[in-house]
Amino acid sequence: MSIRVIELEKRHPGASAPALSGLSLDIGAGKVAAVLGRSGAGKTTLLRCLVGLDVFDRGAIEIAGTRIDSASAALGKLSGQVGLVFQSFELFPHLSVLENCTLAPMRVKGRTRDQAEGRAKELLAQLNLADKMHAYPEELSGGQKQRVAIARALAMEPSVLLYDEPTSALDPSLKHEVGKTLRRVAETGVTQIMVTHDLPVAREAADVVFVLDAGKVAEFGPPVEVLGTPRTDAARALIEFS
């Protein structure tokens, strides 16, 4: 499903400058977008607003034709539509891999245990985790934890899946895997947005790149253009920095 963000504004209580100041972007269904920018550019705030953990002050978000404005931007409204893979994954340590993936479908969507487990097993198999179903998060490697987090989010059948720094907690040798995983998820039609500092992953996996600066989009386009021939200082600074 496509996602549109329209003129989003957000100022954290007590902050001197707004975190988002009229940010807009548009991503087509099934596309993978990378959101880049230096620290403080508004990347994390954008993610938290999209997933409903933060409430924005003005603007709107449209997902699959459903419009959410600042008044209705509560968690309940977006839940299920937008999933988030946390930087530190935040798997539930007291639940097995399978239970991590069935908790929300059973409690939120009212699925039976059989239904929820059936779907979770499918997802875990797709993500090469079939043999880890009964393991606990502590027993998994970083890459496995990330894939469980993805499976857990996908189990809620979201239209949009967000990633916060998907490569930062991974061993360098595993970073390559992330791109593959994202492409595989894209085939199912889910729109994906990753916030990242990692330009190689953005190049490899993204269809479109957004560079944020001071709470709005400074530049966007295909990775080859934005990262190859940057037009703005913000994009140039990123490339030099990396």
């Binding site: 997933v51 968690l75 937008v82 999933g83 340590p93 007291h94 908790l103 929300a104 409690r107 939120v108």
Partner: protein, 511 residues
């Protein structure tokens, strides 16, 4: 053993100041054919105590008196256990119909209770170590000497007037005479019955001839119970006339001229002091420990079992209340809006920062002033539960704080409501952290539950105190009661370890 009860004039005033409820206890006694009489069997011989030969029975000259008196009223006597210095408060609360347990006739008591005609008169007698040349044997010699007695008694007042260094004991008579024997005090001044049952039977002690004062015992009734008082007075007269009273005092070796004069020259009894002799034989010297283990302690099993059951039930129920309330308070404090946070903090600080005994006293004796009269079990359960909830709240707060904030965020982004997230994600992780301190608290509660003996419940500790006092076997029975407490606390320590491991199975398997 002489009741002081309300040594605090302020408290006496408060109870007396209550609007006199309309009571007709006499009608109730007649209707139920039951006379409920309050006493403290820890007080010991010869008043009311557990038979050292068969601790399942309550004996004493006041037991015989209560039985005979109840019969005159057409009722059966039912003894109710109450802490001795609280008897008049318990009586005012309506926990029993009369208090009959060596209660001294004194003016300050007449403000808080009705007193019957006296049923016994006794001299205050001095006991010293035999052969102690420097021992005080006269009123004049008492000045500056260490002398033991019971708190709030006439004996205490006499000693203070004489300028003695007064040592008072809450526990019972044994300790008072033990300290004299061990040289911690120079003398003991107490009522004749106590002197006879604890002083005279000790070969190393000597009761000094001569009286230092006279005391009278009366039965206490609720203010306003004049009809019952008249009936009790008539009953006592009748028992004096038909020889029952004299025979009771005679069998207990307590017959004296002072009491005879109380009842217009009541005739001396023609009976042997068989109960006194039995006491002397039973407690003069305890048999060796292993013999007690084989012969005496098994007979006490039933009493200990009852006490342990009460301790366990009241502790378990209190812990349930404490956990439920503690979890609520911890959630309020951690996730609630400001006013709820404030409320939780206020609750926790109040109940954590004030003594449990005061909370229990307020609930049991204080709330009736506001019209809420709880039965002893409920009051004990509430006080323990409310108090321990403050400790539990802090345990769970620590547990909640140990769960990273990202866990709640993750659950929320999956669409779980805040309550669902707390219940399925945060709570199970927090719970595991809170289990070890909660177990400690439960074991502490198991022991603190001994406080409910203040509100007439005979739990394990009170059972021990009563039995130890009746048999003068503090050490041996101490081992027995310790065993009972461990029997209850050790399984819970094991259980908690098991639960902790189960909830932590995701950690156990980790590398």
């Amino acid at each position: 053993m002489v009741v002081a009860v309300v040594s605090l004039p302020a408290l006496a005033y408060e109870v007396a100041g209550q609007p006199a409820e309309k009571t007709d206890t006499l009608a109730e006694v007649r209707a139920h054919h039951e006379l409920r009489w309050g006493n403290d069997s820890q007080g010991g011989a010869p008043y009311v105590f557990q038979d050292p030969m068969d601790p399942n029975h309550l004996i004493g000259f006041e037991v015989d008196l209560a039985d005979a008196l109840a019969k005159k009223l057409g009722a059966r006597a039912r003894p109710i256990q109450g802490q001795w210095d609280k008897l008049l408060e318990l009586l005012a609360r309506g926990d029993f119909d009369i208090a009959l347990n060596g209660i001294e006739v004194a003016d300050e008591k007449k403000r808080v209770a009705l007193l019957s005609r006296p049923y016994y008169a006794a001299e205050e007698r001095l006991t010293v170590r035999r052969g102690d040349a420097t021992a005080p044997r006269t009123m004049e010699a008492l000045a500056g000497r260490k002398v033991g007695t019971l708190p709030g008694s006439l004996a205490e007042r006499i000693l203070k007037r004489a300028g003695a260094d007064v040592r008072t004991y809450d526990g019972g008579q044994n300790e008072i005479y033990d300290d004299l024997r061990l040289g911690r005090t120079d003398a003991v001044l107490l009522d004749f019955p106590i002197t006879r049952f604890y002083g005279e039977i000790e070969p190393v002690l000597e009761v000094v001839p001569g009286s230092l004062g006279a005391v009278q015992y009366a039965i206490a009734l609720k203010l306003g119970d004049d009809a019952l008082k008249a009936e009790i007075d008539r009953g006592l007269e009748a028992l004096a006339q038909d020889g029952t009273l004299a025979s009771i005092y005679g069998r207990w070796g307590l017959w004296n001229d002072e009491t005879s004069k109380l009842f217009n020259g009541m005739q001396a009894p023609n009976v042997l002091p068989e109960q006194y002799d039995a006491w002397r034989a039973a407690v003069g010297k305890n048999p060796p420990f292993w013999q007690r283990v084989r012969e005496r302690y098994p007979k006490m099993m039933g009493l200990f079992l009852q006490g342990a059951a009460l301790t366990l039930v009241v502790s378990l129920l209190s812990m349930m209340l404490a956990v439920a309330l503690g979890v609520t308070l911890a959630l309020m404090r951690t996730y609630g809006p400001k006013p709820l946070q404030f409320l939780a903090v206020a609750y926790i600080e109040f109940f954590r920062g004030t003594p449990l005994l005061i909370q229990l006293t307020m609930i049991y004796f204080g709330l009736p002033e506001l019209g809420l009269k709880l039965n002893p079990f409920v009051a004990g359960w509430l006080a323990l539960g409310l108090n321990y909830a403050s400790a539990e709240a802090e345990n769970y707060r620590a547990g909640l704080a140990s769960v990273p904030g990202g866990q709640l965020d993750a659950a929320r982004t999956l669409g779980l409501t805040k309550m669902q997230a707390l219940r399925h994600v945060v709570a199970p992780q927090a719970f595991r952290v809170a289990i070890p301190p909660a177990t400690n608290d439960f074991i502490a509660l198991l022991k603190d539950s001994s406080l409910v003996s203040v509100v007439t419940l005979t739990e394990l500790t009170k059972t021990y105190e009563n039995l130890a006092s009746a048999t003068r076997d503090h050490l041996g029975l101490g081992v027995v009661v310790a065993f009972w407490y461990l029997l209850m606390s050790l399984p819970f320590a094991r259980l908690s370890r098991w639960v902790e491991l189960r909830l932590g199975r995701h950690l156990r398997r980790a590398v």
